[in-house]
Symmetry: C3
């Protein structure tokens, strides 16, 4: 099963949760057990799994990443002034792999799936494949 | 094949190797070729593959992460005082995927599989699935 | 389908693109839809997907990683003086997973697959498996 999910960001840096869209596509597929692979087709955005209960968690994460990897003042050569976004994207990674059983994502109690936007706001494409 | 492995940490921050448990489950399954997906169901722990020969390697890794992402003094808003753990978890990632052939994990000579504990000690759950 | 790709680095730190070799093996396999898992069998190298158009992007990434995680002066204990390389390797990760359809890697327009060398130059082994 292959789908393209669209995830919309509003800010330059933002963590956008889209767990429900993934579970819905999984339910629609009727598949019972396997892995979900999510893959972002962009070089200034990433995917991660983290806490979705307290919005301060994604906020603190963006704050820390911005402190370690600021957009300006690091001597970056790339002309588009988004080297910081490329680096953050590789640090968090272009894909997540999540097992499922009985048709449900095997997420822990506090886990949600996030698009990590580092050069938005934009509409981003995430490939979803079941194996 | 779907299993839940329990991995126990003792310290707040610790890399706990569990390669042998993964290879044992793989051997028990009788499967010969494919991928092992390991997935941690927590938001303040991660999984990684790195050197398991010299214990100074995991120690240096935790030391560096603590230097870059200290628990206190960064202006974190999340009330549980473990934002550092959430961020380290996303940086290292919630899953690892390792190919196997002839019933053996295709690890390099110096590679071991580690649970990365950032808010322990606790018992952590790792989902293991073969594909 | 299981292959070992050889990727050669020349510098201590270098991002070496090998997208074409992966697509060629995929084409040779005749497989139409699934996932490619790439896995590096080393503890001082990693794999990532990022922009392959402007060579300043990988250069900026190595520069930033070197700034955050210098080889010397951090109090590392590991005797081989390459703790920085081990840490960078875990931060970027030992594997990438990329979906394919119609026999083509579903990479975004600007995406390439890179070996991230942190303790070269060397010949590195990358396992490639299709599922």
């Amino acid at each position: 099963m292959l789908h393209t999910l669209k995830v919309r960001s509003r800010e330059r840096e933002e963590l956008v949760e889209f767990t429900d869209a993934v579970q819905q596509k999984l339910t629609d597929s009727g598949e019972q057990q396997g892995i979900v692979v999510l893959y972002v087709q962009h070089t200034t955005a990433a995917l991660t799994v983290n806490e979705n209960a307290d919005p301060d968690v994604p906020r603190d994460m963006l704050h820390l990443l911005r402190t370690l990897i600021p957009q300006h003042g690091m001597g970056f050569q790339h002309g588009e002034e988004n080297s910081d976004a490329h680096i953050k994207a590789s640090m968090l990674g272009s894909s997540v792999t999540i097992p499922f059983a009985d048709g449900k994502l095997l997420l822990g109690r506090w886990q949600g799936i996030f698009l990590c936007e580092f050069d938005g706001g934009r509409e981003r494409q995430v490939i979803m494949m079941l194996r």
